[in-house]
C-alpha cells in the first residue's frame, strides 16, 4: 500500500497510461493534470485546459494512447499526444446537461459517455469527415447516468443510474464494427437494445458504480446500501447483499469471484461471489495501524482535557484515506487477476493497494498436497524397506533357493 497526496482538493477522477508511469487526474476543477513518476516523486508534466467547468470523467486508452475527458460543461474532448503536447478534439455529444462519466471501449474504437440528460452517448470516429459522432441511448433511462462499464466483447455496456436501476445495453455501431456473436446476455443486439434491467424493489438508492467480471458473464453494482451481482451464465439471476456500512461509491471485479468495493467508509472492502445466492463480505482491506500512543507531557494532557474535554488530540481516521474513496482503478493485472489497484478520494490522496488472494486458503491447499505427497513417499519408502529387509528375515528361504538353483553345481 502506498499513499501519494496530490494536494488538499478532492480528486474527481483518475486514469493511468499503459505502463502506469503516468497518471491523469483532476483536482475538482476544470483542469486535467498529468503526473509522471520520477523516482519516488510524481512530477506534473502536462496540464490539459480546454474544459470550462468541473471535470467529471477521465479515461486513458492504453493502446492508442488517447485520453477522453468529460465535464459539467456538456462537452467531451479526445486528446492525442502530438510532439509531446496533448491536442484536444471536440466530440459532438449533443447533450444538454452535464456529462457524468466516460469510458473507452475495450478495443478503443468508441467510448460511452453518461450524462445528466438521461441519456448515454456512444461516440465513434468517422474517418470521412474526421470527426467524432455520437449515437444516443435514451429509452428507458429515467434519470442521470452515474457510471458505465463495457463488456469485454466491445458491444455490451452496463449503466448504473439515479433512477435506482442498473441496466445492460447493446452499443453495437454497425458503421465501425462487425455483428457480434451471441453472448450469455442475449443474442439479438441492435443498438440500444436493453439486455438487462434491474430495479431494486426496496429502492435501495442510486446505482453508483458498475463492473463487469473478466469473462463478462457477471455484472456487479453498488447502490446506496447494497451490493448486487447479476449472473448471465445462470439465467441473469440477481444476488443482492445489503451492507451495514456507509454507501459504497465504486466497485471493481478483481478476480473471477472476488470483488473490491469502496466508498464513504474510506476503506476498500472485499466481497466474494461464488454463484447465485452466494455473495458475501470477506474483509476490510485496510489494516488500520494501531496508533502508538505518543508520550505527551502532563501539561499537554491537562490542556487537552481543559480545552477539548478529551485526552487524545487526534482527529485522524484509522484508515489510509482520510475521506471518502470515489474511484477505484486497476493498476496491474487485468480483471481476471488484479495484482494492484488504485483509489482516489475526497482527501486528495491516491493510494495503490495490492490485492492478494486469500493466503490462508492457498496455504491450506498446499499443506494438504504436502501431506498427500508425504504419505506417498512414506509408503514407497516402507515398501522399499520391506523388500530389502525380507531376505534377512527369511534366510532359510534363500538358502533353499540357492541349493536348488541349477547354478550351483555339485
Amino acid at each position: 500500500m502506498s499513499l501519494c497526496s496530490f494536494g488538499v482538493e478532492p480528486l474527481s477522477c483518475h486514469a493511468w497510461n499503459k505502463d502506469r508511469t503516468q497518471i491523469a487526474l483532476s483536482p475538482n476543477n476544470n483542469i486535467v493534470n498529468i503526473f509522471e513518476k520520477k523516482g519516488k516523486e510524481w512530477v506534473k508534466i502536462h496540464e490539459l485546459t480546454e474544459h470550462t467547468e468541473r471535470i467529471t470523467g477521465i479515461d486513458w486508452a492504453p493502446e492508442s494512447n488517447r485520453i477522453v475527458t468529460c465535464a459539467s460543461d456538456r462537452n467531451a474532448y479526445v486528446w492525442s499526444l502530438k510532439d509531446e503536447v496533448w491536442k484536444p478534439t471536440l466530440v459532438l455529444v449533443r447533450i444538454n446537461r452535464a456529462a457524468t462519466c466516460v469510458k473507452w471501449s475495450p478495443l478503443e474504437n468508441k467510448f460511452a459517455l453518461g450524462s445528466g440528460a438521461r441519456l448515454i452517448s456512444v461516440c465513434y470516429f468517422e474517418e470521412e469527415n474526421d470527426w467524432w459522432l455520437s449515437k444516443h441511448i435514451k429509452k428507458p433511462l429515467r434519470s442521470t447516468i452515474l457510471s458505465l462499464d463495457w463488456h469485454p466483447n466491445n458491444i455490451l455496456l452496463a449503466a448504473g443510474s439515479a433512477d435506482f436501476s442498473c441496466r445492460v445495453f447493446s452499443a453495437y455501431i454497425k458503421d465501425i464494427e462487425d455483428k457480434p456473436g451471441p453472448t450469455a446476455w442475449g443474442t439479438k443486439m441492435p443498438f440500444g437494445e436493453l439486455m438487462l434491467e434491474h430495479k431494486d424493489s426496496d429502492g435501495c438508492g442510486w446505482v453508483h458504480s458498475v463492473s463487469f467480471s473478466a469473462s463478462g458473464d457477471q455484472l456487479a453494482w453498488v447502490a446506496h446500501s447494497s451490493i448486487s451481482v447479476a449472473d448471465a451464465a445462470k439465467g441473469k439471476e440477481v444476488t443482492h447483499l445489503t451492507t451495514d456500512y456507509l454507501p459504497l461509491l465504486s466497485v471493481l471485479f478483481v478476480g473471477p469471484t472476488e470483488i473490491v468495493a469502496a466508498g464513504h467508509d474510506c476503506c476498500p472492502f472485499q466481497y466474494t461471489y461464488k454463484g447465485p445466492g452466494a455473495l458475501e463480505f470477506v474483509k476490510k482491506l485496510d489494516m488500520p495501524k494501531q496508533s502508538s500512543k505518543t508520550t505527551t507531557s502532563a501539561m499537554q494532557h491537562f490542556r487537552n482535557l481543559d480545552k477539548k474535554a478529551t485526552e487524545e488530540d487526534s482527529t485522524k481516521l484509522d484508515t489510509l484515506h482520510q475521506n471518502s474513496i470515489t474511484q477505484l482503478c486497476i493498476v496491474s493485472g487485468d480483471k481476471a487477476k488484479v495484482e494492484k489497484y488504485s483509489s482516489v478520494g475526497l482527501d486528495g490522496a491516491m493510494v495503490i493497494w495490492e490485492f492478494k488472494e486469500d493466503l490462508e486458503m492457498s496455504s491450506r491447499k498446499g499443506r494438504g498436497l504436502l501431506i498427500i505427497f508425504g504419505v506417498v513417499l512414506m509408503t514407497l519408502f516402507a515398501a522399499f524397506l520391506f523388500s530389502a529387509v525380507e531376505p534377512y528375515h527369511t534366510p532359510r528361504h534363500t538358502e533353499h533357493t540357492l541349493v536348488d538353483s541349477p547354478r550351483i553345481s555339485r
Binding site: 426496496d202 429502492g203 435501495c204 446506496h224 446500501s225 451492507t243 451495514d244 456500512y245 456507509l246
Partner: protein, 150 residues
C-alpha cells in the same frame, strides 16, 4: 391593464405534475398492507408477552399504501409497544429480530422521531442505540433512501 394580471390562480398550479418527464414510481399496492393487527398486539401486550407483541407489530407494515391513516395507526401502535419495554430488555428484544425486521424497526423509530410526544423520544433513542448496534449505519441509510416509507 391587461386582463391576465387580475387573477393569480396560475401561481398555485403545480407545474411538476404536468412535466412529461416526471419520474413516476411504480405503485404495486400490496394486499396485506393494512398495518399490524391491533387486536392481536393488544392481546399480547395485556398478557405481558412483550417479545411476541414486538414481532406481531412488525408484521404487515403499511409500506405500499397511500393511506396515511393506516400509517399513522401503525406508527402509534409501534410506539406503544416500544414504550412498554423495560430498558434492560430492549437489547435482547432487538437481538431476537432478523435483519429485515431490524431495518423495519429503524424506519418506525425515525418515523416516531418526526412526531414526538411525551416520553416517546427518550424511549425511541434507547431503541435506536440498540438497533444501530445490530443493523449498523446501513440500516439508517436504508431508512433515508427507501422509496417505500412506513
Amino acid at each position: 391593464m391587461s386582463k391576465n394580471t387580475v387573477s393569480d390562480r396560475f401561481r398555485k398550479v403545480d407545474v411538476d405534475e404536468y412535466d412529461e418527464n416526471k419520474f413516476v414510481d411504480e405503485d404495486d399496492v400490496g394486499e396485506n398492507q393494512g398495518g399490524p393487527d391491533e387486536a392481536e398486539v393488544d392481546g399480547l401486550l395485556r398478557q405481558g408477552n412483550l417479545n411476541g407483541a414486538l414481532h406481531a407489530v412488525l408484521k404487515n407494515p403499511p409500506l405500499n399504501t397511500k393511506n396515511h391513516n393506516a400509517k399513522e395507526r401503525a406508527e402509534l401502535l409501534v410506539v406503544r409497544v416500544l414504550s412498554s419495554f423495560k430498558s434492560s430488555d430492549i437489547e435482547k428484544a432487538v437481538g431476537s429480530l432478523d435483519k429485515a425486521d431490524v431495518d423495519l424497526l429503524m424506519k418506525y423509530i425515525y418515523r416516531g422521531f418526526e412526531k414526538p410526544s411525551d416520553n416517546s423520544s427518550a424511549v425511541l433513542l434507547q431503541w435506536h442505540e440498540k438497533a444501530l448496534a445490530v443493523g449498523g449505519v446501513g440500516s439508517i441509510i436504508r431508512v433515508l433512501t427507501t422509496r417505500k416509507t412506513v
